[in-house]
Structures are given as C-alpha cells and as structure tokens.
C-alpha cells in the first residue's frame, strides 16, 4: 500500500500516476471520506482498517485538510477529523508515504 498526500493541487495525483502506472489509484480519498462521514454511525477507524485489509496494494491519493481554523459546521469538523484518522491508519499500513509540495514529492516513509 502506498499513500500520496499534499495540500490542494500540489501534484500528488500526477506523481502517484507517474510512479504507479499499472496500479489502480484511489484518487481524492478525502472526498470519499467527506461522503462517508454523512452516514449515521460511520466509524472512520473501522472503515480504514477494513479498507487496508481489502486493498493491501492500493495506491491512495488524498489532500491534507487539517491545517486550518476549526470549521463552524459540525459536518465539516467531522470530515476534517475523519480524514486525519483514516489517513493515519493508511499511513501506518503503507510501506511508502509521499508528501507533495509544489509538485515535489518528499518521502516521509
């Protein structure tokens, strides 16, 4: 499993595509989480563990979304928190984690 993260539009999707041309990519994973959060009783940790079990070779691409002011709306707060929790689990399971800044990939793991 590999994880590519970065702020919005930092080139993480392009880099993941370039480095993993043959593997299906899970793009905009934060958006997947944004939708999932809306369901009642959804558990980010259980979701993340299950995802890692089901897709051990996945290449996951996501935006970092946690470096701003606490959002006013409850669902935005839940979204931001869930993205953090889910990506921590994915990062733990991933053999490689890459963070993109200005299109430059920095290996964190």
């Amino acid at each position: 499993m590999k994880l590519y993260i970065g702020g919005a539009y930092q080139g993480q999707a392009e880099l993941a595509q370039e480095e993993n041309p043959e593997v299906p990519l899970y793009r905009d994973f934060h958006e997947t989480i944004r939708n999932a959060v809306l369901a009642d009783g959804w558990d980010p940790l259980a979701f993340a563990e299950q995802f890692c079990q089901d897709h051990p070779d996945a290449v996951v691409i996501a935006n970092e979304v946690g470096a701003g002011v606490v959002p006013m709306a409850a669902e935005d707060r839940a979204f931001r928190e869930a993205v953090g929790r889910v990506l921590c689990v994915i990062a733990r399971n991933a053999e490689q984690v890459t963070r993109c800044v200005c299109g430059i990939g920095v290996r964190l793991k």
Partner: protein, 171 residues
C-alpha cells in the same frame, strides 16, 4: 541560479530569503515588490518589510504585475516577493496569469540570481467560492512550474529551512 522559497504565513521565509540574497554574489540587489497597498494593514506590512531590508542595499522595484516590464540590471541578485500577490494581481486586476511563468523565466535570464518567495495556503481543507478556488488552483500551478524552473526549492518551517529540491546553502 534560481531559488523558490515557500512556507506558511509568518514562518520567516522573507527573512531567510534576505539572508540568502546577502550570501549570493551580484553587483546589485533588486527587490521586486508585488503587493498592492490599499489600506493601513498592508501599509504597515510594507513598512515592516522595508525596515527589515533597510541596510541590505536593495533597490526596490514596484511591480504589481507584468514582470517583464520590470527594469532588471544585468548581473544583479533579484528577490521577488511574492508569487501569491503577483498571481492575485494578474488574475483579478486585469492582467494575465498565463504570462507569469514566461515572465519569471525572462527575469531569470536578465539577472545573476533569482529568488522567488511564495506561500503555502493549500492545506486548510476549506472549499471556497469558485473564484477563490480557481485562484488557489492557479497559484498552485504557478508554484509547481516555478519549482520546476528552480535549481533549489526550500520550505521554511518557523525559521528552519528544509530542502525540497537541490541543496541548502550555508548561511
């Protein structure tokens, strides 16, 4: 040589970039100021930056947009502050954001060293209005192309420089 210096707001990237300028050889130092001054707060910010570089021997060139018109002395060291304002001015003040990268390339060929400062404002997870979202997308593209152009890309984290591309100079 071309440098790109990025980092969050107030992280000390201007100070670090100024230190870098001092360490580089060049007959003249030029500061390209891109910020539009329209209220007291921006005036104060300009004053702070001016005081900060008062004794560093810069000639200040005011250039809110259309960089190719800026007068650059041959053999100079140019500090461009910053891509965030330049992109906003080109986008929202009757300019053309598509000329930014060609203009940067043009400036870099006319000077000895070019140091570009930009800002990292992409990780707050907010969804803004479509015009702001378009601005963020455009600025990110400018940053990425500038990083490609640059020999060295440095992220400053609360005054600590982190190398993203190239090498860290001894300052």
């Amino acid at each position: 040589m071309i440098w790109l210096v990025t980092g969050g707001s107030g992280c000390g990237k201007s100070t670090w970039a100024e230190k870098l300028v001092q360490s580089l050889p060049g007959e003249k130092r030029i500061y390209i100021a891109t910020m539009q001054v329209y209220d007291q707060e921006s005036e104060k910010r300009v004053q702070r930056h001016r005081a900060q570089r008062a004794n560093l021997g810069f000639r200040t060139v005011e250039c809110e947009k259309n960089l190719s018109a800026a007068q650059i002395d041959a053999g100079s060291v140019v500090l461009l502050e910053d891509l965030v304002n330049l992109t906003a001015n080109e986008m929202f003040d009757g300019g053309d954001p598509n000329r930014i990268i060609p203009d940067l390339l043009d400036v870099s060929t006319r000077c000895n060293h070019l140091i570009m400062v930009t800002n990292d404002l992409f990780s707050d997870g907010e969804t803004y209005s479509s015009s702001v979202q378009e601005y963020l997308r455009c600025l990110a593209e400018v940053n990425r192309q500038a990083a490609r152009l640059a020999d060295h890309v440095i992220e400053v984290v609360y005054s600590i420089p982190v190398t993203l591309k190239g090498e860290l100079p001894c300052l």
